[in-house]
């Protein structure tokens, strides 16, 4: 439902705002009349027709054009350029999460480090992003918005996203908590007495909770990506959404916000699929080799 609700709410917003929506596309100081614009954009026949029209086009992957922020540019193209960037940013940042999960599950990250991780995790993403932005701007100067600068921004941004707001620390603590509580279960002790490995026994049972946690953390990264992209001027979806909102470019906001909604919906679906897969796996009650 989310992917449908979001554009519907935004459409409502367009009509809720004061003034003629078409004048957002071309203000009176530049345009001597906006009737033709209103007709072309379905803005002349009320919110429902506009919403239906937009949805029909969106299903055909036609997201229309930017109204003001990047006037005339195809929103589909903007999204196509932004998606890989955001994926790279969130992907690189999620490596920190996975490392945390893996390190905590296998015990590679020692418990003694937890206080340190907790404290470092308190640093908000905003602060790290500010520092990162200053470093990139002053290191790359004019080139900071070129390809090289963008790559530097993505790498620094992913580190910021992965470490700040307790993303990494949370992953470690959360995973450790799950495993330790599961390890206290009687069957685990019995299994260990039978010479079986602890992880092989606990993993199938904690996986659903672990996947749930992971989804929440990825969602957190996705949401945090907006801050990082905006502060570090990374050409991702979050930055597009920010620019669109800032300039009331609903042509752009509709596309990007819907994409965000689709992203979080997809994560839910993924989680469900993982849980089903684990359930099937457990039902097959895999044999465990005796030592």
């Amino acid at each position: 439902m989310l992917p449908l609700m979001v554009p519907a709410i935004i459409t409502g917003l367009i009509w809720a705002l004061p003034g003629d929506p078409a004048s957002l596309i071309c203000p009176p100081s530049r345009c001597s009349g906006t009737q033709a614009l209103a007709e072309r954009w379905n803005l002349d026949a009320g919110p429902f027709q506009f919403f239906v029209g937009w949805l029909r086009d969106a299903l055909a992957l036609n997201f229309g054009r930017s109204w003001s922020a990047f006037q005339g540019m195809d929103v589909g193209n903007l999204l196509a350029e932004a998606i890989p960037v955001s994926l790279m940013l969130v992907g690189l940042a999620s490596l920190w999460i996975f490392t945390g999960v893996f390190g905590a599950a296998t015990g590679w990250i020692h418990r003694r480090l937890d206080p340190l991780l907790q404290t470092s995790g308190m640093i908000p993403v905003l602060v790290l992003a500010l520092v990162g932005a200053a470093i990139v701007d002053l290191t790359y100067g004019f080139g900071s918005s070129g390809q090289e600068g963008q790559m530097a921004r993505i790498i620094i941004g992913s580190a910021v996203l992965g470490l700040a707001d307790g993303a990494f620390a949370g992953a470690v603590a959360g995973t450790r908590g799950l495993f330790s509580s599961e390890s206290r279960q009687r069957y685990v002790g019995v299994a260990i007495l039978r010479g079986e490995r602890e992880l092989a026994n606990t993993l199938p049972n904690v996986t659903p909770a672990l996947v749930g946690q992971l989804r929440a953390r990825l969602l957190h990264l996705l949401s945090g990506a907006v801050v990082v992209e905006v502060m570090l001027k990374i050409n991702g979806i979050g930055d597009l959404l920010w620019a669109g909102t800032l300039e009331q470019d609903f042509g752009l906001v509709l596309g990007t916000a819907t994409l965000f909604a689709v992203g979080s919906a997809l994560l839910l679906v993924l989680q469900a699929m993982c849980e089903v897969a684990v359930a099937l796996h457990v039902r097959r009650s895999p044999g465990v080799q005796a030592a």
Binding site: C31, S32, Q71
Partner: protein, 518 residues
Amino acid sequence: MAWRRTILGLSGLAMGLLGTGATLNYFEEALPTTLNPLFAETMVDSRAQELVFDRLWYRDAITNELQSRVVKTHQVAEAGRAIKITLKEGITWHDGSSMTSKDLCFTVKSMLNRGTPSVVAAAYQEFVAGCETQGPSVALVRFRKVLPKPRERLGFHILPASQFSSTAISPDMEFSARPTGTGAYKGARTRREVIFDAQSNTHHSPSLMQLQLREGGDPLLQIRTLEGGEVQGIVVVPPGSRADLRASDEVTLKSYDLRSWWFIAVNTKNPALQDKRVRQALNLLIDRTELREYTIGVKPGDRNSPCEFISGPFVSVSPYYNRTIPTVPTANRAKADALLKAAGLTRIGGRWHLGEQPITLKIGMLANLNNEATDLLEQVGNQLGDAGFDRQTSKVSADEWSQEVVSGQSDFDLVIGKWSFGLVEAVGDLFHTNGRKNIFGYTDAGVDEFLNAYEDAVTDTEQKDAYHKLHARLADELPYLFLWKLDTKSAWRTEVRGNIITPYFYFTEIDSWKVVEN
């Protein structure tokens, strides 16, 4: 035509492979809002569009000769009510197709089409009647009246018919971001920059392979980036940074002839500001000398100050400027107080009141002006605050400026801004009751009368007289508090050669620009 296009394409490719050209990076005040010349709204737009399109006729930046890169011959026809234009052959659009008379007539018809909501086009609709093609390279442009010098009036950019489905052109088309022109460069707007790639053509031979336009941001960072050589130019250098650059051997400051003046527009619909005596008092409460020193860094008595006070809507060198109207360089609190009292305002506890209500002025300023005059908004607020007015100050973003302020929909009481002009200094749009850029919907029969007199004048002296009277009227009525004109300077590194800057349009002579190693 095909073989010619092939040759041109190959030569363009060769230029790229041989790397004969260089890339020029420069900082602009902002990114252009559009690359479609019909919807230019800022000077940044005009400068960027000059790279992508050819104007039908233009003036040489050095000799001021009226020239055209696209017109082969012309002939006044129909007893001065039309001009027959023969276009040069072999000129191609950036997509490789040939420019023909069809394109010229398409441009004219687009400007005349009411479905094209362009303020720029509206100015041409007043004297252009139509266009008729007479063969692939001949077009007859008709006028509504006899024009003594038709070529000088036809300075519009030519648009490609093939890029549009109808003559109704709107600003939201892809053309605004990735236009096709016949200019020296093909422009493409991206999220954080505009890239201009050189286009080999029969009438353009640019030396620079690519131009990269980016938003400047913090002036200090711009200056240091320029000194560091990471960028070759800054189009507008704030006065405060000029001394540093002037002393540098690596950078050259260049004059950019642009007639810009700064103002504080007054909301005459505000009950407290309706009375012109209150506006006159505000005018006397603004200490321009102090403002100029604190925000632009001009010390009193500086010789050759880049900033000169004005008393009306023209720069002081303009023939339209009425020199009998004095400027108000310093504040006169006593006279201002007398005016405010005469207007019925009362001072209670040091604050001015209208009836029982204390007066609070909402003051706005176009945010990017802060780069040229740092803290101007705050300093104006301080001066009015010291004089006994409560105030709320707020910067205005560029989009809010376009959406609300210029279109007369803002709720400010005072708005600080800047207008820029070229040779033509028509101010009707700013002050006429029906003006398109009448910030607070100001209306005054006397002002309208003088503006109409300017439009209806038979001779240029009558036009001048009308504007002199308008100046006097506005200096008395004060819908604007006129501040100053501020010279514009660009800074380019010395390795950039042949960089002739055309007044107002800037990049008209871009073909001669090149980058060489010092």
